[in-house]
């Protein structure tokens, strides 16, 4: 059997009603990393909740991911400080470079593009975080440099 369905088989028996929908989605996401469609269908089948409803709930909350995470999670800060210092332009630039929209992951699972509230380093605004590393005082030009760095890393890896 497929790995994700095997995880469902292990997790689902501990949940039984519609009230368990959120906890069950949380547990499955923590084990799988995101909520693929077949997992949603499995949850729907097990809890007897229509799949479209499970999907609606999962899409409502920010905490749930409907797509897998890329190896590099790029988070553009849209806190107030970053916003006024040009976060929207930076986001646009990254969207253009990665061909991704906010919330999406590239098909090769390389990048995931997100926006976040405040990262907490407003002094360095505008900021971009890649995985755990924060890059401050960004500009659309410096974004390109950011990608050069990744490219090299990739080449070395």
């Amino acid at each position: 059997m497929d790995e994700e369905l095997a995880i469902c088989k292990k997790v689902l028996p501990f949940y039984s009603t519609r009230h368990h929908l959120i906890p069950v989605l949380q547990e499955l996401q923590s084990k799988i990393g995101y909520l693929p469609e077949k997992v949603i269908v499995e949850v729907s089948r097990h809890l007897r909740v229509p799949a479209s409803d499970v999907y609606a709930v999962a899409s409502f909350y920010d905490q749930f991911r409907l797509q897998p995470l890329g190896r590099k999670r790029i988070a553009v800060c849209r806190g107030t400080a970053c916003h006024v210092r040009g976060a929207p332009q930076i986001l646009k630039r990254i969207e253009a470079m990665t061909n991704l929209k906010e919330g999406e992951t590239s098909p090769d699972l390389e990048y995931t593009l997100e926006t976040v509230g405040c990262i907490g380093c407003c002094a360095l605004a505008p900021c971009v975080r890649v995985n755990k590393e924060v890059f401050g005082e960004m500009s659309p030009e410096r974004v390109a440099e950011l990608f050069d760095v990744f490219g090299e890393e990739d080449g070395n890896a």
Binding site: E37, S44, R48, P50, S52, S59
Partner: protein, 866 residues
């Protein structure tokens, strides 16, 4: 119901308790703006436009506030108008400022509200307008979903869940980004949406709109020509063209299926074979040709098969023609391939070959046993009722080797190996008898053969049942317990039962279960064969059966032939005839030489083992009558063009015995004629009397005089609505069964097993399944259905795919003892290991090529392409 008085805009009005303020206002013709309210849906309170001012309380949402005695309500006031205007301006800013270019213009409820509030669009523009247009979903061939025009009222979502229980769509996402979409936010055509259009009917604005909309100028009430639920269909006409179909709840076939009437490849003129080619001839020549050829054969040498989509009047005329003019009982109808076994078994057991109860009653069944029925695909209307009942607490026991959309509603799901249902059902009956769960009083008073049945139950100990069916014995016992203890219990079945070689035995086993538990003769219980074609019941009622005259009066029965000889003033053949499925051997050994096919396509409808192709080539004279040419037509000597359901008058009988009027709405295409008119002309050319009816109403008069159940049915009464036969009886057999002994018959049964068992060479069992609700009648002639049909694929379990090394999407060869085909594999969790499921849609089942005589299952092996 309690009546209450209140003051509405200064006028005294009376309401029933339980109504909301909005309902009271609308009933009294006082308009209150609203978008999310719809009379058939539960109040949602999301659009917030329906505020009214309640004295002493201020603004309240009228759609969620129950009316109370003494309330003083103002539907307009500066305060509520201000609230509404603000909300409407926001909606306009949200892409509703260009009504003239909207597909809903003139019919839009938001436009109406703008007028009512005199909203100033220019003023609305001070608000920041939504950025950029969103991508409309145009994937469905019949309608578009345009998020730009959607006001998120949720009516569509609630229609799909509350009213239909299909739950294809939801409002996904949050806040500014929320929209209506199916699972995975995919295009709607790739979702579980069944394209019924009910959501489109209820969308107040331009969010959901039909692709080709024409406003109907007048409406005619008729019946849907697809399944035997017989939904009432209101066809909308613009001049002489059908432009729409509406009904209480229609499925895709009801809503859009009529379009086949306008398919460009209708046969529009009679065709006769000359020098190997079919060429157009006049009706006079065609009729003469049919008459002279038919006259050449003795009764035994000729056979007639009519479609179960013919009207009652036509079916009656066809069998009268076969019997009184051709002198043969070789008359059958196409329901032979689906449900004739059901009706014959019911006749044997109860004396009436029909469902014992109406589907309406399912709502109050405590238990529903549903066997071999892909109901959501084949009988959407019945599926809805079963789901509603299950939600109300009815315990649903499903017997089917493969899971389907009902899994979320099922209490128990038993998955026997294909073709082993008899063993399973006898096992359940065994437990019921052994544990004393039976209704002893009912069995003793109203049934015969109990001791014989009890004797044969001894052959089905649970150990053997488990071995034969693969269903764990505890589950068999639990099913018995639930079924016997929940009264009333209803039993439903469909072609997953009857299209097996021993399908009649399975029907008998189901009848046993219902009788043993006393579930026949009372409401919300009973036996329900879910017949496929629109008039399957009627075609059988009318005697298009080789062993029965109209009304299930047996050909060999005492005094029956004499009765019809007297009525029809002619001599009749005393020998029962051959069934549709028995013709082919008879043609091959030369006993049958001529065949008259009306709306039948045996070449694709019968499994390979019948050698239909060889038989057709052997025929001396084949008359083919239909709306479209098909594979079988290629072998015809004479082709007669028939009119479609909207081009003729008549009646259809639903699976629950409701007789309803089919009405002529438009003229027949080209030179085509109604089946009834064609047979009338052939009979006249053969010099026969008794066919000179002025209209179908006249035929019904003769039917009513000769068919006991149809006594009292006439067009005048039918004009007011459906009539249930016999004599308006919804629940049959309340006091007595309609057999000589007044008792019902229980059936002792042996286990015969499926035709084919897997072995080393063919280790897997293949079953077929329709995976889309677009099939039957002429569904394959509707463009949109062809586009929606998801194509064929073979579902293989993870285990089997692993063993065989098959990948998802891989094309493989499927080989049976009878034939082979090429198909793509889909690896899923659904089929039990050892079973593969061939999914198909539209009208043709490709699996028929693999089968011998069993129509739904065979043993196969899978080979990979190298």
């Amino acid at each position: 119901m309690e009546r209450i008085d209140l003051l509405l805009d200064g006028k005294q009005v009376t309401a029933r308790s339980g109504m909301t303020i909005l309902e009271v206002a609308l009933e009294n013709k006082v308009y209150v703006p609203h978008l999310c309210h719809h009379p058939e849906l539960k109040p949602a309170g999301v659009c917030r436009l329906c505020y009214v001012e309640l004295e002493g309380k201020g603004p309240v949402l009228s759609c969620r506030t129950p009316a109370e005695a003494g309330m003083v309500i103002k539907t307009r006031s500066p305060l509520v108008d201000e609230i509404r205007s603000g909300l409407v301006e926001l909606l306009i800013a949200d892409r509703h400022d260009d009504c003239p270019s909207c597909a809903k213009k003139g019919r839009c409820e938001l436009q109406k509200i703008m007028g009512y509030l005199r909203v100033n669009k220019k003023k609305a523009r001070r608000l920041r307008f939504a950025e950029g247009a969103l991508e409309p979903d145009t994937s469905n061939p019949f309608f578009n979903l345009d998020p730009n025009k959607c006001v998120l009222c949720g009516r569509c979502v609630r229609t799909c869940s509350e009213l239909l229980r299909i739950n294809a769509i939801a409002i996904i996402g949050r806040g500014y980004r929320s929209k209506v979409a199916p699972l995975g936010a995919k295009p709607i055509a790739q979702s579980s949406c069944e394209s019924c259009g009910e959501c489109v009917e209820r969308c107040p604005v331009g969010g959901l709109v039909y692709k080709e909309y024409k406003r109907p100028e007048k409406h005619v009430l008729t019946v849907c020509p697809y399944c035997s639920s017989g939904c009432r269909l209101t066809l909308g006409l613009q001049k002489t063209e059908i432009v729409s179909a509406q009904g209480e709840r229609l499925c895709a076939r009801g809503r859009f299926g009529w379009r086949y009437i306008y398919a460009p490849d209708r046969i529009t003129a009679p065709l006769a074979r000359t020098e190997g080619r079919l060429v157009e001839v006049s009706w006079e020549d065609a009729i003469r040709l049919a008459a002279t050829h038919f006259a050449r054969y003795r009764g035994e040498e000729i056979a007639v098969v009519v479609s179960a989509k013919c009207t009652n009047e036509e079916a009656y005329l066809f069998q009268k023609f076969a019997r009184s003019v051709l002198k043969t009982n070789n008359i059958d109808n196409t329901a032979r391939l689906s449900h004739a076994a059901s009706l014959e078994a019911l006749w044997e057991a109860t004396g009436i070959g029909a469902a014992t109860n109406s589907l309406e009653e399912l709502e109050d069944a405590a238990c529903i046993l549903m066997v071999g029925a892909n109901t959501a695909r084949t009988h959407p209307a019945a599926a809805r009722k079963v789901k509603e009942a299950a939600e109300k607490g009815s315990r649903l026991i499903i017997v089917d080797p493969v899971e389907n959309d009902f899994r979320r509603f099922a209490h128990l799901w038993l998955k026997p190996y294909p073709g082993t249902d008899v063993a399973l059902l006898m096992g359940i009956a065994g437990v019921i008898v052994e544990e004393g769960l039976l209704d002893l009083g009912f069995v003793e008073e109203r049934c015969e053969n109990f001791e014989e049945l009890r004797g044969s139950l001894a052959d089905f100990p649970l150990g053997r049942v488990e071995r034969l069916t693969g269903v764990p014995r505890e589950m068999v016992a639990e099913a018995a317990d639930v079924f016997a203890r929940s009264k009333p219990a209803a039993v439903l079945w469909s072609t997953g039962v009857t299209q097996y070689l021993h399908g009649k035995d399975t029907v008998c086993a189901l009848i046993n279960l219902a009788l043993l538990t006393g579930n026949v003769g009372s409401s919300s219980a009973g036996l329900h064969p879910l017949l496929e074609q629109s008039n399957a019941q009627g075609a059988c009622d009318m005697g298009c059966l080789p062993g029965f005259y109209p009304g299930y009066q047996p050909v060999a029965g005492e005094g029956v032939r004499e009765k019809f000889e007297a009525a029809w003033k002619t001599e009749l053949n005393p020998e029962p005839g051959l069934a549709f499925t028995e013709l082919w051997d008879a043609i091959l050994d030369g006993r049958i030489k001529a065949l008259y096919l009306v709306g039948a396509n045996p070449l694709t409808e019968l499994p390979g083992g019948y050698r239909v192709l060889e038989s057709l080539e052997r025929l001396e004279f084949l008359v083919f009558q239909d709306l479209f040419l098909n594979e079988t037509a290629g072998h015809a000597h004479l082709v007669l063009p028939a009119a479609g359901f909207a081009e003729k008058d008549g009646t259809y009988t639903t699976a629950d015995r409701r007789v309803q009027r089919l009405r002529k709405v438009i003229e027949p295409a080209g030179r085509s004629l109604p089946d009834g008119e064609i047979i009338r002309r052939i009979a006249a050319a053969m010099g026969a009397t008794g066919f000179d009816f002025a209209n179908p109403a006249g035929v019904m008069e003769e039917i009513a005089s000769l068919v006991p159940g149809y006594g009292g049915i006439g067009y005048e009464k039918l004009a007011e609505g459906a009539l249930v036969w016999p004599a308006g009886t919804a629940v049959l057999h309340k006091q007595a069964f309609h057999r000589l002994t007044s008792k019902a018959k229980l059936f002792p049964l042996d286990y015969q097993g499926p035709e084919e068992r897997p072995d080393v060479e063919f280790p897997l069992v293949l079953v077929t399944r329709r995976n889309a609700p677009y099939y039957g009648t002429c569904a394959h002639k509707v463009d949109g259905f062809r586009k929606l049909a998801p194509g064929e694929y073979l579902e293989v379990s993870f285990k089997d795919a692993g063993d065989l090394g098959l990948g998802d999407g891989e094309e493989v060869k499927v080989i049976s003892r009878q034939g082979g085909l090429r198909v793509a594999v889909k690896v899923t969790e659904d089929p039990p290991p050892g079973v593969v499921v061939l999914n198909y849609n539209l009208s043709q089942d490709p699996g028929k090529a693999l089968m011998r005589r069993e129509m739904r299952a065979c043993a196969v092996r899978i080979e990979r392409f190298l």
